[in-house]
Symmetry: C2
Subunit: 374 residues, 2 copies
């Protein structure tokens, strides 16, 4: 069953809002509810997370799933069996088998959750096949030209490509975005954020269990260790900027009256991944000889057309607690999420003028939008 | 009375450690204690703070003070009278009168606490006059060439020039430096800090009281507003980097086997100072027409020869709580002072892997060096 574009857009925005949230929606099942017909390219662990959320919805029908990995397909079939939903068509057998499922008489939209280097060809192939609604895991592509290819293809076909950047939908980010739009921070001046997540236990495993289980990667690794780690071997740069730049871009209207203009990026030496292999696998493990191009911390500055600066960090190779390290600063105040501190001139009442000694905790807020921090 | 170089160096290191600390030393007075003979160039509010500390010591004799401002000289004389110490010689009358006091038969050492642009000539004039021990408020000079002039003069005369950067002696910085040197953080990889201090109430006043009292500056301002604000009018850059880069430089041995190699710096638009004038003085105040070159936030990246990156911020024009925002990160862990959080792999026990939700507060430490954070 097909749906009208208008209903579809309404539905897909609901679906989009659900991606990546920890608590999926539980809408009551209704007979006769229009259903969005979905195809999945990639049902690894990330794709299965999206699949599970879709299986819990009455307004989505999973029509076809595609993967090249039998273990992942088996796990996905088990999820579908447990849901009681109809078993979708299974497409597999080769790296390009996904093209067989990209037909608008089967599906209205596709969700892509594959290794990064596959996103661009899968997006453009989906558009070429006539699909108008493509949701993809981050990133859109590897090179700048990859991204332009996606933009050109989408614009030529009037297709909608949505990157599933869940950080844009964090509750704190949406609250701060609302405050920004209501002018609480004044005119924004400077923003910071980072993908600061110790991924050593993701980049390496024992080839069987996904996390913290060993020091293998590539052909001997499982799940993300199989493909993602190679990007740390061969590339030095901010490999994964959307968790941080996505929310920032919304707040200062990037490509909606503002744009990134100038960029400067620095990388540190590379130590963390080698150290992890030696610590966990011993200095004689064959991977202890592996060189990694990726600097442990990559910092990037961006100057925007409207005069703001953005500071980004990519920090995935060292032991550290998780923090996206958001900072939103304007002419009236500042929010930083590391200390959960928010200061708005004339609104926040601090016992002490310093943040360094954790005095943010004694702040008293009187503004209704700030009650959460009170 | 003169002192031997060896005793002097011992004494001056005690004095140096005291500069900028909130609690001055209270050594017992001893008759016959060798005394360091000090001269002061500049006894404005900052110089008076140093003067007061020296007056409380029995091993320092203030022999001469110099300033061009009668009000500041009067305040200083009052401090000296209250201390019961002998009144020093007073030198005043012109911008170059200070040269009259720079004679080694009068003083062993000089403390310079004048407007920034005067530091370099006063340092080099002190060295030319034969003085071997010169302590100066930050910064050493305005231009890169200023700094080289100081280095060349000091090396040629075997003189010692100490910049009185108090952030290097913060208790937390000294504790972290000790941990760094004991290897707790492993090999250092990335460092951050910033001069993040809302100085609007310092850059502007009513010409009579120093802080938060008006929107005048330059000839109509008092104390720092009289001279410091002009740097925000005419210059765009990190005007005051030593609070942040000083402690970082110690931790990674800059000029002791390591060095700054590459630098990139970005400035935001300038809004904060104008906004402050309008908010406090009204849009019709003459200073509301003043343009300021200084971007509200200036961010600077440095890559070091040993592969570390440093990230600095200069953020003095916007409403914000004070924080120097230190971050010290190595192959074994990370410290950030905004949340007072420290994580060392295998040592820190977190209830939760995330810092974002303030779980740093629930950390339990077992390492003896970390008890302060326990």
């Amino acid at each position: 069953m097909s749906v009208s574009r208008r209903d579809f857009v309404k539905n897909v925005s609901l679906v989009s809002a659900g991606f990546g949230l920890l608590q999926p929606f539980n809408l009551p099942a209704q007979s006769g509810t229009p259903q969005l017909r979905l195809g999945f390219i990639g049902v690894g662990l990330r794709g299965q997370s999206h699949l599970q959320m879709c299986l819990e919805r009455s307004d989505v029908a999973v029509k076809v799933i595609c993967d090249v990995d039998d273990r992942m397909l088996g796990m996905s079939k088990e999820l579908i069996r447990k849901s009681g939903k109809a078993m979708p068509e299974i497409v597999t057998g080769s790296d390009t088998a996904y093209r067989d499922m990209l037909r608008t008489d089967k599906i209205d939209a596709v969700i892509i959750a594959t290794p990064w280097e596959w996103h661009k060809p899968m997006i453009t192939d989906s558009i070429s096949a006539g699909l108008k609604y493509i949701a993809t895991e981050v990133v859109l592509g590897i090179t700048l030209e990859d991204h332009w290819e996606v933009v050109r293809a989408a614009e030529a076909a009037n297709a909608h490509v949505m990157m599933l950047e869940n950080a844009c939908y964090r509750r704190d980010i949406l609250a701060i975005l609302n405050m920004v739009r209501q002018g609480l921070f004044g005119e924004l001046v400077h923003l910071q954020a980072g993908y600061q997540h110790d991924l050593r236990g993701v980049k390496f495993n024992d080839g069987v269990t996904p996390y913290n289980s060993g020091v293998e990667f590539g052909a001997k690794g499982f799940s993300e260790a199989r493909w993602r780690t190679n990007h740390s071997v061969h590339r030095n740069g901010d490999l994964y900027p959307t968790h941080d730049v996505g929310p920032m871009a919304m707040m200062i209207d990037i490509n909606r009256g503002n744009r990134f203009e100038t960029l400067s990026s620095f990388a540190t030496k590379s130590r963390g991944l080698h150290d992890y292999i030696v610590k966990k696998g011993g200095k004689d493990h064959p991977n202890a000889k592996q060189l990694f191009k990726l600097g442990d911390i990559v910092t990037t500055h961006i100057k925007c057309a409207n005069g703001e600066t953005i500071f980004l960090q990519h920090d995935t190779n060292l032991p550290r607690p998780y923090s996206l390290g958001f900072r939103v600063q304007g002419t009236n105040g500042i929010w930083m999420n590391l200390n959960n501190g928010i200061y708005i001139e004339g609104v926040s009442k601090y016992d002490h003028e310093h943040w360094d000694d954790a005095n943010a905790w004694y702040v008293k807020y009187e503004h209704p939008l700030l009650k959460r921090w009170g």
